[in-house]
């Protein structure tokens, strides 16, 4: 069997079967192979043949004389092996790695090529095959159209009396289709991700521009001292909501970026962490929802971090503490910055005892990292998206730290952001 033959077999399968005498064919829909004379009890069954086999994608290897010397497994169909509960073979040479000894197989292959004893063809409509939820044809990456015909040719080669017969299975190009489809989908996915990234960036930019202009316009007016009573407060509320919306747009963009690992932190050394804490404390000082905001910063802590991002995290936590408080109560928030050993420091936001708090189920859901998750009790109290919490977690983790939530329903939540003074270099 030469390269040319194999190429022909691979590229022009019907021609290969055309060479098999007509009388060898039995074709039956629904007939079992046994009924058609294929006795598996005395046969070694070989699925693994050239590429169209649904259990793997194979490639013939030829020597300089164009003689077949090996078959290489390019990719096994893991769905098939799961279906058959057998371990997935490693890709590579079948001569050395498989349950078949290639040298023993080779004469049979040649014999098959020349004169197989019998060929049994089965045809299935792919939709029928796919209706079995466990079917190995349920490639996660395939998109067979419902009219696709699955055609299998079974070839029996009689062996000498003391040896088992060989049964070879050739199926049409399902696997090749899936394989190419897979590579194609990979490229397509990559393109889509890039497009999505671009789109999110553009959308974020386009949305924040007008929001910023609107906030600036309001801000110009709120600066005036001749406004009627009540107007400045209303305008400031409008301004605050615009800024909140703008932040939301940024959070959505950042979350998407973090999910794609396309996010870079802009870390700077020697950041005086207490400044971040004090800035946030100052920012929320005039918040009417907060009864008291106690800030206890250790002024000696300096660290290498992304200042804006950590400020964003602390702002998010304090904002949540202010928002999610018990009915008819104002928030009491303690904001602490302290050392935690030689490597870490902690920023702690504690909204007990007037906080809403979370039960164990909430805490579990919170830690499961679902974007847009919000506790039921929280939904009843204030608007939000839940993005901030997950984004904060990701930002802190990306900075080499962790966020720890301790909470008691009806009492409040203590959130500890533990960060390293100097994060490890990412590999």
């Amino acid at each position: 069997m030469t390269n040319k033959d194999w190429a022909k077999l691979e590229s022009d399968m019907p021609n290969f079967f055309d060479q098999i005498p007509e009388e060898l064919y039995t074709e039956a829909q629904g007939d079992s192979l046994t009924q058609a004379g294929f006795d598996f009890s005395h046969a070694a069954r070989l699925f693994f043949f050239i590429s169209p086999s649904p259990i793997g994608l194979h490639e013939p290897i030829f020597d300089a004389q164009q003689t077949l010397v090996d078959i290489k497994l390019l990719r096994a169909n893991s769905a098939w092996y799961r279906y058959k509960s057998s371990p997935l073979p490693e890709d590579g040479s079948l001569a050395s790695k498989t349950r078949f000894k290639f040298e023993e197989l080779l004469p049979h292959l040649r014999k098959c090529w020349d004169k197989p004893d019998r060929v049994h063809t089965q045809r299935f409509d792919i939709s029928e095959v796919l209706s079995d939820p466990n079917s190995p044809y349920q490639f996660p990456d395939s998109n067979f159209t419902s009219g696709y015909q699955l055609v299998s040719h079974w070839i029996r080669i009689s062996a000498a009396e003391d040896r088992s017969d060989l049964i070879l299975e050739f199926s049409n190009d399902l696997d090749r289709a899936a394989f190419e489809n897979y590579a194609d989908q990979g490229r397509q996915l990559e393109r889509l991700l890039t497009q999505r990234q671009q789109w999110l960036g553009d959308a974020s930019h386009e949305l924040r521009g007008p929001l910023n202009a609107a906030a600036m316009s309001l801000n110009v007016v709120t600066r005036r001292e001749d406004l009627p009573e009540g107007v400045p407060a209303t305008l400031r509320t409008a301004e605050r909501y615009l800024v909140q919306m703008s932040d939301l747009v940024r959070d959505m963009f950042d979350t998407a970026k973090l999910e794609q690992d396309a996010f870079e932190l802009a870390t700077t050394p020697n950041i005086r962490v207490h400044e971040i804490v004090e800035e946030i404390a100052e920012e929320f000082a005039a918040d009417h929802d907060i009864l008291s905001l106690r800030s206890v910063p250790d002024r000696s802590i300096t660290a290498t971090l992304d200042r804006d991002r950590i400020r964003q995290v602390v702002r998010n936590l304090v904002s949540n503490a202010a928002k999610y408080r018990q009915e008819a109560k104002q928030a009491t928030i303690a904001l602490t910055l302290r050392r935690a050993g030689d490597t870490y420091f902690e920023i702690i936001v504690d909204d007990t005892p007037n906080g809403l708090g979370m039960n164990d189920t909430d805490l579990e859901a919170l830690n499961s990292e679902q974007p847009f998750w919000r506790a039921e009790a929280a939904k009843a109290v204030a608007t939000g998206t839940g993005l901030g919490v997950q984004l904060s977690r990701k930002l802190v983790e990306r900075s080499g730290g962790e966020i720890i939530y301790e909470s008691e329903f009806g009492v409040g939540t203590t959130v500890t952001v533990r960060l390293p003074y100097i994060p490890m270099e990412s590999p």
Partner: protein
């Protein structure tokens, strides 16, 4: 040529605002005038216009959008500003996204008016 003109109107700080949206640029000017009165404000709505202005005048502060309309256009303006002698601390980049920029560039998120105001006050004492 007769050499570059580097004007500085007596002691009034001069600010260049760059954004490709003219409407937003107007609002921006009005806002800066409210935040920092007695400032000479000029605007440019394209990269080229900004580069021409930077080439012919000396600015105390330049605030530029990062994406105009393509991400990164603001970097050209930053380089030109730096070459024309504007200190790095007197260049502010505004961005609607979270782009990773060189550390030396002061990046302020679009919409963070408090941060922008304090950066302006710091740059123009």
């Amino acid at each position: 040529m007769f050499g570059r003109k580097k004007n500085r109107l007596n002691n009034t700080p001069s600010v260049l605002l760059v954004d490709d949206d003219k409407g937003q640029l107007d609002v921006f000017s009005t806002w800066i005038a409210a935040v920092k009165p007695n400032t000479h404000i000029q605007t440019a709505s394209s990269v080229q216009e900004a580069l021409n202005l930077i080439d012919s005048q000396r600015f105390s502060l330049i605030i530029s959008d990062y994406s105009m309309p393509h991400a990164g256009a603001g970097l050209d303006i930053f380089r030109a500003a730096h070459q024309s002698g504007v200190p790095k601390s007197n260049f502010i980049m505004l961005s609607g996204t979270s782009d990773a920029l060189p550390d030396e560039i002061l990046l302020i998120s679009k919409g963070d008016l408090a941060a922008l105001e304090s950066a302006i006050i710091q740059a123009l004492p």
